[in-house]
Amino acid sequence: MTRDLTGRYLGLDVRCCLIASSSPLTASLDGVRRLEDHGIGAVVLPSLVEADIDRDLGEVEALALAGAGSPEVCGGFLPGPAHGPGAMERILELAGRAASALDVPVVASVHAYSDGGWSDLAQCLEQAGAAAIELNLYEAALDPGEAGKAVEARVLSTVRRVRAAVSIPLAVKLSPFYSNLGHMALAIQDAGADGLSLFNRPHLADIDLVRLRLRTCVALSRRGEMGLPMLWIAALHGRTKASLAATTGVESADDVIRYLLAGSDTVMTASALLRHGPEYTAVLVAGMKNWLDARGFSSVGDIRGRLAHAAATVAERGFGAALGSECWSASAVGRDDTGA
């Protein structure tokens, strides 16, 4: 029998509650098409990053000015206007083309550093045809002199500003590093967000022992990292009007199911698709159907949030309770009963 995987995210209907989060796979029209062909419910494009735009601009201006002192060059070295295309044009172009080529919703992502940057870039993406905007609130608040309240105020101001600038649905992808994330989540919702993506993972510094240099690295997420987002999905399920998207650590269809059981409206993955290719979407979709089938559920709606309360109370019960849990003993001996 057919299993209904449809859902709603940010007020948009999605044919499948599995969403491809931002990654190199969503960076080309061909990439997003392949994801759609294999059954994805929506795609999130790579972030339009304000700093990249600055870098492009600096580079293009430098090029335009490089020849400006030569009587033979004077108009710059490249044909056409001095301001050539860059990250901005690439992402806007992709957003426009993907929006018209795909049937599934195309969510555009923004990461800016200036107040105006957030809203301006979001507006550009809306005009380009994106179905929704995801604010990629990647922020490492590393200044010990800045109070948590100030950090939160800044985030909320950004959300309000973008909310005022665009009329399409707005998701906020945030980090877990707030003293009370639940409170913050509700505040973000009140500031105008239609959904939350949990969580952004910080790019960590690594140390190159040969060259004695720092390097930043982006590692694909692992199932072991699912605990934190799952906890907060569970904790927020039913307590916020905002849609909840779980993102981090999905490796198999079972992981998608886990997030749904914890209360997630949709589940996002980039790492699994990067590891196995876009066609792995079909494997995940089939796995979800099989699971529903095996348990006799007809739709994901039937399972969404079923274990939210339980999952949340595990954490609420406190440290000692967790120590006694089955999960601890299972992972302590390295047993994996999830059957990826």
């Binding site: 000015l65 033979e72 070295f77």
Partner: protein, 1195 residues
Amino acid sequence: MSRRVALDGNGAVAHVAYRTNEVCAIYPITPASPMAELADQWSAQGVENVFGQVPQVQELQSEGGAAGTLHGALQGGALTTTFTASQGLLLMIPNMYKIAGELTATVFHVAARSVATQALSIFGDHSDVMAARATGFAILAAGSVQEAHDLALVAQAATLESRVPFLHCFDGFRTSHEVNVVELLSDEQIRGMIEPDLVRAHRRRALSPEHPVVRGTAHNPDTFFQAREAASPFYAAAPGVVAAVMDRFAGCTGRRYGLFDFSGAMDAERVVVLIGSGAETARQTAAWLCGRGERVGVLQVRLYRPFSAAHFLAALPESVRAVAVLDRTKEPGAPGEPLYLDVVTALAEAVADGRRETMPAVIGGRYGLSSKEFTPAMVKAVFDELAAPAPRRGFTVGIDDDVSHTSLVVSPGFRLEPDGEYRAQFFGLGSDGTVGANKNSVKIVAEHGDSYAQGYFVYDSHKSGAQTVSHLRFAPSPIRAPYLVESAHFVACHQFQFLGRVDVLRWAAPGATFLLNSPYPAAKVWPYLPQSVRRRIVELGLDLHVIDAARIAREHGLGPHVNTILQACFFALAGVMDSESAMVEIKAAIERSYRPKGGAVVRRNLAAVDAALSALVRVPVPDEAGPGRGDVALVPDHAPEFVRTFTAQLMAGRGDEIPVSRLPVDGSYPSGTAAWEKRNISESVPQWQPDLCIQCGQCSFVCPHAVIRARHLPERALDGAPDSFQSRPVTARGFPDVHFTLGFYVEDCTGCGLCVEVCPAHSPEAPETKALNMADKAPLLDDARANLAFFASLPVNDRSRVDFANVNGVQFLEPLFEFSGACGGCGETPYLRLISQLFGDRLQIANATGCSSIYGGNLPVTPWSRNHEGRGPAWSNSLFEDNAEFGLGFRIAADRQRALAESLLRGLAPEVGETLAGETLDASQVRESEIRAQRGRVAQLQDRLQALDGEAARDLLSVLDYLVHRSVWIVGGDGWAYDIGFGGLDHVLAQNADVNILVLDTEVYSNTGGQASKATPLGAIAKFAAAGKRTQRKDLALQAIAYGHVYVAQVSLGANPQQTLVALREAEAYRGPSLVLAYSPCIAHGFDLRFTARQQDLAVACGHWPLFRYNPAMNAVDRSPFLLDSPRPTLPFREYAYNELRYRQLAASRPEDAERLLGQAQTAIDAKYRLYERMAAGGAERVSVPSGAAAGDLP
């Protein structure tokens, strides 16, 4: 309806040419390139001509090729045009004779430029057009931007009607690059002037198998002459056709032109006749003189060929008693310049035939060669000369000819700039955007204010740290002043360091406003101004304002871009339009430029503009100059006399004042003068930490400007060193008591940072610190100067004891190519510096025109220098297209002279000593020690020969130097080697001559501004390939390898310095032709050249630029001649390509095309690499064409 726009001459002409043609056959040449670039850009954008088609724009390999394609397209019935200048026009001449001989309608648009003679010049005069006057083309000359726009259409209409092809010319730079207000012809107006029947008639005359004819036959003596005369009626009719077209044009636009236009007193007695932009200046002067009751006039020649004596005579008042004909060209040895001769002939014939009563006195003179200024004062000098009892013939005006005494005396104070006009001058750097902002200001005023505006921009010839001077005029009526601002109401100095070096207040009018971008606040700035500047401010009563634009730019995140900040200050101070409206327009321009980049960038720029006005402060000027900073000496007192009296004048911007007698008569200049030009263009320079240094030599190896030098020295040589002088014991074993030191010519450093990037030595404690780090120059400068003086006093390391075989050793060799004006981070110059180190004292270079001939030989200074023995590279540039042949000539001459020397030496052996003679004749001269030994023998021979008497000894002395093996290098860029010079290069490779060809491959025409060559890679964009290059770059190496006897190497200094060194030495040692293709990153690639080594690495790693050597000499030892020096590609091409804007821009503008082309490029790379691997594995004989000339046959 027409609309008012601000355009430069090239833009104004291209607008018409593009709209009235179906094919543009193009090739880049300054100052005409922008016309072709615009056409290519419009075609890529799909802009249609007035016939509703998108014209095809076809780049060729040379102007000769462009003319050939144009000729063919015309024979095919397509309306076809081209854009060119100077040598380019000369290369078209053979086809021009054919096109005219076949009565084919076309217009060549020419931005008239000097033809290279004793020197190349990119600037404007009529020597190119005059060289084409015998081709049978009609020549229609415009004198202003508007006129060039209009006459482009007149020429197009007239050629279709008359069938005579037209050369439409206007003055290079003065008109081609002047921005002025133009009434733009609408497409309807253009269409209205082009008769459809004539277009159809043009098509009907095309070759077609449907109605075949044979055209281009060969004639015998019986018919050629008559056939040549058969077309005469068309030439007789052409002036009438042009006049009629001009009438129609006047009816259509209200702008009236004549074949010859007279202006001035209708009873004029003295008349000046001339062509081009100078006529505007002459008219203005004549009007002023007429206003003072003088009977003078000006006759502007527009249709120069066919020269219609009837129209000329009709335009010249009968009252004329004396005529001065001004030619903007020189024809040495002729009785007069071309226009003069035509005028004399027309008048003499008229008088002889009785059509005119009296023969006026006619004198001819030259003016304005190579864009030399032509001012009202000069025109007045000509009118004054005409009033003299015996006016001089063959005069010059505008220079001080103290040799042949031809020059007219010009009154320096005579100026005619009108009262209602506002004039401004801006001194800036190319890199600070001053010119761009000023073009924008002209546009703002022209298109949004009520005023007219004009902009003209003067550049120096350096590619890094180039100075620019912008000359702007604003007036309520059209501005017709084709000369620089002579009296400025506003002077802006955008670079504080110019003060005292450049006389920025030279043209300031009394009471003028002086805007200074100053790091010092208003209250403190005065004593920091050089004495001469302070004095001038006081004398002229200038209104001084300062602003720290650099600080505002920094605070608003604009980096070094001070242009819009200073532009806002200009509008606030100048009042050329309502300041608020100007701010609105500046902001609108910012919005237009930056909006696509996001609001944050826009806001930062807008905020900086707003901040500008509040930071602009008036400086109270004291009554006296007072004490403070002295003036800067441009060159020290101990500089050579030529540098002090000639070069320094040029550096100070006073070259116009140098008299003829100070100029070399044959174009030969002393080498090594760049060392005297301390430009100090970078605020940051490398700082050495000797304790970290591993003495590897990488830094000096990559330095494009030879700023870093290494020496080893005995410890005792450190006596007397300044306290801050640094050295360390050499790290190599076996050299006790020997120290290593580096000298830094920080005042010549461009701050590119390449040295720091390649430095491999990191501090173990602080990994970000290297043995070289960029540091602020100012605090280091005094010590650096003292240390350098000591460094320069150290003995030069003995070449015969240096290990030439590795990079570490090469650092001790004196560079004989130093401090060129090349761009910071230039990818070409390290190769040139390297060959100068390796072979400099016996090096003779043939240099193709291009970047390397400009930074290598453009005055004021010469970077090719001499060693401590007085020897060094002998360098010359012939042309763009003939460089390989030119260098072959060097080789042939050197070989002949050497053969003569050897023959004479054999004969004189008994007298000079059999042993010495024999050793000299038999010497091997491959290794440096052998060369040094031969030099010793030659020196002995010289001593002995000088003691001998007789013809043979004197003859041998005259060719003795040739007994030291001469290293002939043929150097040029890819535009030369792959395109325009390829035929010659191929021919030279096909010989057995010992020449070394170094191709500095930037994959683009760098010097003319980045046009595509056949070396441009697939998928990259460039000018002339605005939609992306659609074909692979030519594999020149494989073509050369196919000969079998040519040494071929492909190198990349940044990726593998050692392989580069080995290849250059092998090439030089190989006694046949050698070809070295050297990968040379260029600013045209669109990445920060600081990372050039990394990008070269990637180019090699992805297989775009594989490294290899093909050495035919290996055949003799039975080894494979083909060595692949780089491993199989380890990266996708994309990872290299998308670091560069030239690829990324296509990815953004045409993503699908870019993706497809990238795929094709990757496939091609993979296939090419497989081929190279097969060659390396199996020997190149399997893929190269076996030739009769085996390598073993080589000398």
